[in-house]
């Protein structure tokens, strides 16, 4: 059947529909039919529009009907779409699991490799270290734990018990009185020179049980200037051997 034959059959079919309607309504008189027939043929052409392009759920239904068996009509459900959703859900779960396993394997490999571990350690140290707010050339103070025994020069309260030892009394003679250099921070009162010239050595906090190193001796022949430490007056000895 050619296209023109199809068009001719369609046209005849349409004319029959219109004529039947006119006859049924009693308007098949040529006077009425002459005006109504062309109008009704225009209305009839509305039925010959294009077939709508399947979209969305309906397209999926048609595709499933074309590709494979589905639930028989009359059951009230279209199982093929549910199956497709289930397959898609399973694919998503598998993909997520594979992604998690890949990430875990990568983390283990990074932990085993010493190069990566060193790099990470360096990075963490860099990020977690304190900001460098000191002047260049000044060494950082040595971090010392709290002394278990009293530090020389720091008098403990008389009679106070030191953990793990007998009550300690202050020494009878200080180190300064013996003519030995006193380790510890030096106080600059600004009497001699600028502060920059007066700070010749960084203060060193002695460790417990470790003898503090004596300060460096001047290498020049000129007598050393006063370092700013104010000598305390010698304690007055009383008859009973105690000091006040």
């Amino acid at each position: 059947m050619t296209t023109s034959d199809f068009r001719g059959a369609e046209e005849l079919h349409d004319q029959r529909i219109v004529e039947d309607l006119l006859t049924e309504s009693g308007m098949d008189h040529p006077v009425h039919a002459g005006q109504l027939k062309p109008a009704l043929m225009h209305v009839r052409r509305i039925a010959h529009g294009q077939q709508p392009t399947p979209r969305g759920e309906f397209a999926a239904l048609l595709a499933s009907l074309n590709t494979g068996p589905t639930t028989a009509p009359g059951t009230g459900t279209v199982s093929s779409l549910e199956n497709r959703r289930g397959i898609r859900h399973a694919r998503l779960v598998i993909a997520a699991t594979a992604l998690c396993l890949t990430a875990g394997a990568g983390a283990v490999a990074a932990a085993v490799n010493p190069d990566i571990r060193d790099t990470v350690t360096t990075l963490v140290d860099t990020l977690t270290s304190a900001p460098n707010d000191r002047l260049p050339g000044i060494p950082e103070p040595v971090d010392t734990p709290a002394p278990a025994v009293p530090v020389p020069g720091q008098p403990a309260l008389p009679g106070k018990a030191v953990p793990g030892g007998a009550p300690v009394t202050p020494p009878a003679v200080s180190d300064q009185q013996r003519g030995e250099p006193v380790p510890g921070p030096q106080t600059n009162l600004g009497l001699h020179g600028s502060p920059a010239t007066e700070h010749r050595a960084a203060p060193v906090i002695p460790r417990a049980g470790v003898p503090a190193q004596p300060p460096e001796l001047p290498t020049t022949s000129t007598p050393p200037r006063h370092t700013g430490a104010i000598p305390e007056p010698p304690p007055t000895a009383h008859g009973n051997g105690t000091y006040k």
């Binding site: 059959a9 079919h13 529909i17 219109v18 309607l21 006119l22 049924e24 309504s25 009693g26 308007m27 009425h32 005006q35 109504l36 109008a39 009704l40 225009h42 209305v43 009839r44 052409r45 509305i46 039925a47 010959h48 529009g49 294009q50 077939q51 709508p52 392009t53 399947p54 979209r55 969305g56 759920e57 309906f58 239904l61 048609l62 009907l65 074309n66 068996p69 589905t70 028989a72 009509p73 009359g74 059951t75 009230g76 459900t77 279209v78």
Partner: protein, 178 residues
Amino acid sequence: MTEGTGLAQADPDALFIEAYRVYSPGVCGYLRTRGVEDPESVTQDVFLALYPRLGDLRGGPAGLRTLIFTIAHARAVDSQRSRVRTPASIEYDPARDPRLTESAEDEALDTMADGLALLESLPDDYREVLALRVIAELSLESTARIMNKSQGAIKQLQRRALGRLKEARQETKDQGKS
């Protein structure tokens, strides 16, 4: 099943596909005459609703046609009700859109434009009865059932509709002469 339409299908799935091929243009045109905003999409909704009911189909091809247009009529009524509830929107006029070019769909709409214009000039019930009789090719009995009226009432209604259509054509001719 239907002479000239190739609907003699024993397989329900094949029958459904063939029914869509044969009836979907008419359903879409019918929905368009009823003022449905997206007739293509609603047409597919009609056939989605048809598919589970194919097992209960009775009456052969005439029963299938009646069932399809019964669903389409119900969807058109739903669309009209929802349109009343929603705020009015300005209709898109493709003729004023410079970005568009002529397409096959435009040409198809041009061929139906005269018919749509004729039906739009009629009251709603006149338009409904003519659409069901001429576009959907439904019998008097099926039309009466869908519109929930007696056959006599439908006969009277379509007679009045044709009379009103004739007057509209005459008015159009008179305006063209003047």
